[in-house]
């Protein structure tokens, strides 16, 4: 099986890698590039723990081939904070205790970032449906929704 050479942009950096034709972008990120922030909860697009943003679209990186990233822009959780300055969503997740075990947190943060980019002032219902592709088993979602609401109001004020 011939490897596919890929040249892409990840969190603003040019990255080149070689991957197998059937290798998912999630596996490339985690196993080849050491970016383990995206998690594999299911591998079938049903849990959202591997969420990334691909050319401004929220996707599950387990449902994208590594080869497909050629020439595209990938954003992962590792690129969300600016240096040691957390993104408002990250800060609000901490303040509201919107995480317990934290395994779903990177996926939720990426999905919430995408949601607020497209809808800066969402209703509770819009947040709930906007984040319905991300499973959390610990929190019952209450504190996650509140953290996103709080972050949205902070970001609007900024």
């Amino acid at each position: 099986m011939a490897g596919v050479a890929v040249s892409t942009t990840i969190n603003g950096d040019n990255v080149e890698y070689l991957c197998q034709p059937d290798e998912t972008l999630l596996d490339v990120l985690r196993d080849r590039l050491g970016l383990t922030g995206a998690k594999e909860g299911c591998g079938t697009g049903d849990c959202g723990a591997c969420s990334i943003i691909l050319d401004d679209r929220l996707v599950c990186s387990c449902l994208v081939l590594g080869a497909e990233a050629e020439g595209r822009r990938v954003e992962t959780i590792e690129g969300m904070a600016h240096g040691d300055r957390l993104h408002p969503l990250q800060q609000k997740f901490l303040e509201h205790a919107a995480l317990q075990c934290g395994i779903c947190t990177p996926g939720f943060l990426i999905a919430a970032k995408d949601l607020l980019a497209k809808n800066p002032d969402p209703t509770e219902e819009e947040i709930r449906f906007g984040l319905a592709g991300n499973l959390c088993r610990c929190t019952g979602y209450d504190k996650i929704v509140r953290a996103v609401q709080d972050a949205a109001s902070v970001m609007k004020g900024a």
Binding site: D22, L63, E70, F129, G133
Partner: protein, 286 residues
């Protein structure tokens, strides 16, 4: 295993026609990658069609809309023109999977995956959508309901690729709607679904009607009796009752992990009735 990304439809068709072993077309990948992960398919060739010119666009013409095979369902949701004319089709497309999945999945893929429970297919069938197919022998157009022939099977010949889904311009006083039943509010596959597409005359009497049901037979059902139940009437209680009855009666469902025969039969009627009510209102009926 090879991964290739052709730039033209001619190249894609040529690659596909000339391939030996298992070839898989990759657009959104939300079905293909799951099948690969589960070990249900190990393709020798993965043909990524997203770089083909025009395939990722929704084109609006005098005749209607051409939705390229690589257009994501999320993109359909962002097209105000499409949503304005075919709200039922768009709401069906926007129900597939999650936001993450909608960012990738396509209605063409949904059609070609040939699942009886495919969300967008009943809406497309009700809408009278056509599939534009490119192949070694040139291009042809067929009604979407002719594409799936059974669970996981299609009528596409070797080397053929669906290039776009075509929807007509709307006649005045028309409306469509799609509803599905899922146990949760999101992230599920339809247990039963119904697409309804209506055109009314000036008095609000149904002039034409197409009703399609999903997940109640091996392929999506276009319910002819439902058309008969609606045409020539206003959408009064008696017409709705009859619609529900004929839809329940037309079902040929199975018991499985997602629902029972009785449940599917009963709920098919309920959904058809509710979708018809919405479609009627969208068409301006009162």
């Amino acid at each position: 295993m090879r991964y290739i990304r052709p730039l033209s439809m001619e190249d894609a068709v040529g690659q596909l026609a000339g391939s030996s072993g298992t070839a898989a077309i990759l657009a959104g990948g939300s079905d293909l990658l799951v099948r690969m992960k589960g070990g249900f398919i190990e393709p020798d060739l993965i043909l990524d069609i997203k770089a083909i010119d025009g395939l990722s666009e929704i084109r609006e013409t005098a005749e209607g809309f051409s939705i390229g095979a690589a257009v994501s369902c999320a993109l359909m949701g962002e097209s105000a023109a499409l949503k304005g004319e075919w709200p039922g089709v768009v709401e069906a497309a926007k129900l597939i999977g999650s936001k993450q999945v909608q960012g990738r999945c396509t209605i063409t893929g949904n059609l070609c995956n040939a699942s009886p429970a495919a969300d967008s297919v009943p809406a497309l069938v009700a809408a009278g959508a056509m599939a534009l197919i490119a192949g070694p022998a040139g291009r042809r157009t067929v009604a979407v309901e002719a594409v799936p022939t059974g669970p996981g099977k299609t009528s596409l010949a070797k080397g053929e690729i669906i290039e776009a889904i075509l929807l007509d311009r709307r006649a005045p006083r028309s409306g469509d709607a799609y509803l599905r039943f899922i146990p949760r509010t999101e992230m599920d596959i339809a247990v039963v679904s119904a697409g309804v597409n209506l055109t009314l005359d000036e008095q609000g009497v149904v002039k034409s009607a197409r009703v399609a049901l999903g997940a109640v037979a091996p392929t999506v059902l276009l319910v002819e009796e439902a058309t008969e139940a609606l045409i020539g009437r206003k959408l009064d209680e008696a017409a709705l009752e009859r619609l529900a009855k004929v839809c329940s009666g037309a079902c040929r469902p199975i018991d499985d992990k997602r629902g029972t025969v009785e449940f599917r039969r009963k709920v098919a009627g309920v959904l058809a009735r509710r979708a018809a009510t919405t479609a009627y209102a969208r068409a301006g009926g009162k």
